[in-house]
């Protein structure tokens, strides 16, 4: 029995990076729904349609574009940007049911967001922001790894950074991460979980020592802001030990790094792990950029390997196996509960299929 967390419908999810969606068809499965993405020719507007031809279910993502229309690569059924079929081969009459679903889609902060659920409820104002991903003065390295694990395991992983000490030792983990108590806050109405860990006097991990050039011990702050279900922001501040922000709020002695994840459930037991590291320091230093890209990719792959293994292992457990939670799990438990509420709310509308 695979370990699965139910999906929260009627929510926005990151489907792709903006640069991934263009004039080539891109297929992604989100919450078990196969989707195809592309951009229109003139305006460059992103389009999201169901990725199955109504005729024989051929994947439209493996087909081709004719202007702004997708022409099914099997028998030529042709769809416009709204999903309406505008051509079928050999006959004039187009059956009324010849339509694929179209999905609300928004491009924001260099991300392509798609609404999974009742399209009538989609409100772009509800999409959480990550402005640093597309702001002057910031440089971002990014990647995406599909993981063969339940998305709930990735949420657990990211909400409890004490694992950095053990899984990512020698990269971003030092003893102080696991040793330092956390503060957890839940904003119930907004669906946000915040977890803060402020280390006053910590070893500087290689990830930051080599990129910032700081020698010696550091003050290290990790402030997580998880906008359930998809967007995870980790505001990281590093400074030589004892160097704090000024009274007026300015912080010339601190290095600020924004670590962003989009946690997008793909199917049961599968998740897309979009990872981004943004900085507003040493922005013109390509060596730092490449170091952060390579180092963070290694860290992400350590998580991928661990979560693939964990998913496999949980699949062999008997139903009703026990877990044990301790203080480090306070934030992760909060996230699980918020997700459970969103799942419940997303199941309420009329779409429910029994």
């Amino acid at each position: 029995m695979p370990h699965t967390t139910a999906f929260a419908r009627n929510q926005w999810y990151v489907a792709a990076y903006a640069h991934e969606v263009g004039r080539e068809l891109l297929g992604r499965t989100i919450l078990g729904e196969p989707l195809v993405f592309y951009r229109t020719e003139d305006e460059g507007t992103p389009v999201a349609l169901a990725d199955r031809c109504v005729h024989r279910r051929y994947p439209l993502s493996e087909s081709g574009l004719d202007g702004d229309r997708i022409v099914c690569g099997y028998h030529g059924f042709t769809y416009d940007t709204t999903g309406a079929c505008v051509y079928v081969p050999g006959q004039k009459r187009i059956p009324r049911t010849a339509r694929v679903a179209s999905y609300p889609v928004v491009e924001q902060d260099a991300l392509i967001w798609v609404w999974i659920g009742d399209p009538g409820l989609a409100d772009p104002a509800g999409i959480p922001r990550a402005k640093h991903l597309d702001s002057p003065g910031w440089v971002t390295v990014r990647g995406m790894e599909p993981i063969d694990a339940d998305y709930g395991l990735l949420v657990d992983n990211l909400l409890d950074l004490s694992h950095e000490t053990y899984l990512h030792g020698g990269y971003i983990g030092t003893p102080e991460v696991a040793e330092t108590p956390i503060t957890t806050e839940v904003d119930e109405g907004a669906g946000i979980v915040r977890v803060s860990r402020h280390m006053d006097d910590a070893e500087c991990p290689p990830f930051y020592a080599r990129s910032t050039g700081i020698e010696g011990r550091i003050t290290r702050w990790q402030d997580i802001e998880y906008h359930a279900p998809c967007l995870y922001l980790l505001h990281s501040r590093i400074a030589p030990v004892g160097v704090l922000p000024e009274a007026d709020g300015s912080d010339p002695g601190g290095f600020h790094t924004e670590i962003t994840y989009a946690i997008t459930p793909s199917a049961d037991g599968k998740v897309y792990d979009f990872w981004m590291v943004s900085r507003d320091w040493a922005t013109d230093n390509d060596e730092v950029t490449e170091f952060l890209r390579g180092n963070n990719h290694t860290v992400v792959m350590q998580d991928v390997t661990a979560l693939n293994l964990l998913q496999k292992t949980l699949g062999t457990e008997r139903t009703g196996y026990q877990e044990l939670s301790i203080n480090i799990d306070t934030g992760g438990l909060a996230a699980r509960r918020i997700l459970a509420r969103l799942v419940e709310e997303g199941d309420k509308p009329v779409e429910k299929v029994l």
Partner: protein, 60 residues
């Protein structure tokens, strides 16, 4: 998704892990406080609001 601009008063739950101890100190959005050494029991207390949250109970 409920955006950050959701109407009405914010409901903020907070749990501090007290430095140098194994103790969690929780504050409900209503102001009630509680201490515990188990995060699951802490969340159960928190989410039971308003049950057991009477300030006079000094529920820790």
């Amino acid at each position: 998704m409920n955006g950050p601009l959701t109407q009405g008063p914010r409901e903020i739950y907070r749990i501090d892990w007290l430095p140098g101890t194994d103790t969690l100190h929780g504050t409900c959005h209503c102001g009630a406080e509680h201490t515990d050494q188990d995060p699951i029991e802490m969340w159960e207390w928190m989410l039971a609001h308003p049950q057991g949250h009477q300030p006079q109970g000094n529920s820790s």
